[in-house]
């Protein structure tokens, strides 16, 4: 925003303020449309973010590939040292 000093010497800025004060408001319908677009796009973005990776994994599995999310979960388990799904090792690590 321009300072008061620069406004005093600048008729363009004074005109801008005058026109802004005299101009009617954009209609409530315009506001509703803009905010409606914002909400809808936000919602679609969230849906895509949540489900798109799952859907990709399912499609990949459907066509014979490996589910990426499943793979990455396994890799994460390995990094974390969690072997919950591994039934070849006895609880407590004792060998038979």
């Amino acid at each position: 925003m321009a300072s008061a000093d620069s406004n005093n010497n600048n008729s363009f800025k004074k005109l801008g303020e005058l026109e802004e004060n005299q101009a009617p408001q954009p209609s409530p319908q315009t506001e509703r449309n803009v905010m409606g677009t914002a909400r809808n796009v936000g919602f679609i973005g969230n849906v895509l973010e949540l489900y798109f990776s799952k859907a990709l994994g399912m499609l990949s599995a459907l066509f014979g590939g490996t589910d990426i999310t499943e793979e990455s979960e396994k890799a994460q388990d390995l990094r974390d040292g969690s072997f919950d799904n591994d039934n070849t090792i006895e609880p407590g690590g004792r060998a038979n």
């Binding site: 321009a2 010497n9 600048n10 363009f12 026109e19 802004e20 954009p26 315009t30 905010m35 914002a38």
Partner: protein, 202 residues
């Protein structure tokens, strides 16, 4: 500043209203909550609408333009790089939209003085003070009578303090072409002023 209907009354007391544009944008991008975008709409919609009326000279067209401009702002918010002020970015989208719209509508008519078939030769440079110190009502009249492109370029430079480089980007022209357009627009404005206010020395 006037505020749009759904925000009237509550936003002035909200701690959100104290946040800078940059902080609000970061919050919006982080949370995707539409009320943050609503706050940006509240801050700029009247200015954008007023500029659209001034350039398009039609309130209904200005309503549609304001909606399109804010949709563009919303869809490109993540690309806003903070190299310029947010207000400059918003106004650049506004000018861009309006000039594009007028170009499409007035295919045969020149939007800028230097696009006319025989642009007049410019001998002397018009000093900035000749325009900046003009009486506001007279300046308004002069701006109404010069080509809309000339008006837009003068508003970008003297009302919104845009740099030559920023104007060149908006109009997709070289910086030297913009300097020439500004020179011609000032010249045109001064000539119109002399025509309609012949008894004035200003």
């Amino acid at each position: 500043m006037k505020t749009p209907s759904s925000f009237r009354g509550k936003s002035a007391k909200s701690p959100l209203s104290k946040k800078t544009d940059s902080e609000v944008i970061k919050l919006y991008l982080k949370t995707q909550r539409s009320d943050y975008f609503g706050l940006l709409y509240q801050r700029y919609s009247t200015k954008v609408f007023s500029k659209c009326i001034s350039l398009l000279k039609d309130e209904a067209l200005a309503q549609d333009a304001t909606q399109e401009i804010f949709t563009k702002i919303f869809l490109n918010l993540a690309k806003f790089s903070e190299r310029s002020k947010f207000s400059t970015w918003v106004y650049s989208i506004t000018y861009n939209y309006c000039i594009d719209f007028l170009r499409k509508r007035k295919k045969s008519k020149a939007l800028f003085s230097d696009e006319m078939e025989n642009p007049p030769d410019i001998v002397d440079d018009v000093p900035d003070s000749a325009l900046l110190e003009m009486e506001v009502i007279k300046l308004k009249k002069v701006l109404e009578l010069i080509p809309t492109g000339d008006k837009a370029i003068l508003l970008m430079k003297y009302q919104d303090d845009m740099s030559i480089k920023e104007i060149a980007t908006i109009l997709d022209k070289s910086e030297s072409a913009i300097k020439m357009k500004i020179k011609r627009a000032k010249h045109k404005a001064q000539n119109v002023y002399r025509d309609i206010f012949p008894n004035n020395l200003n």
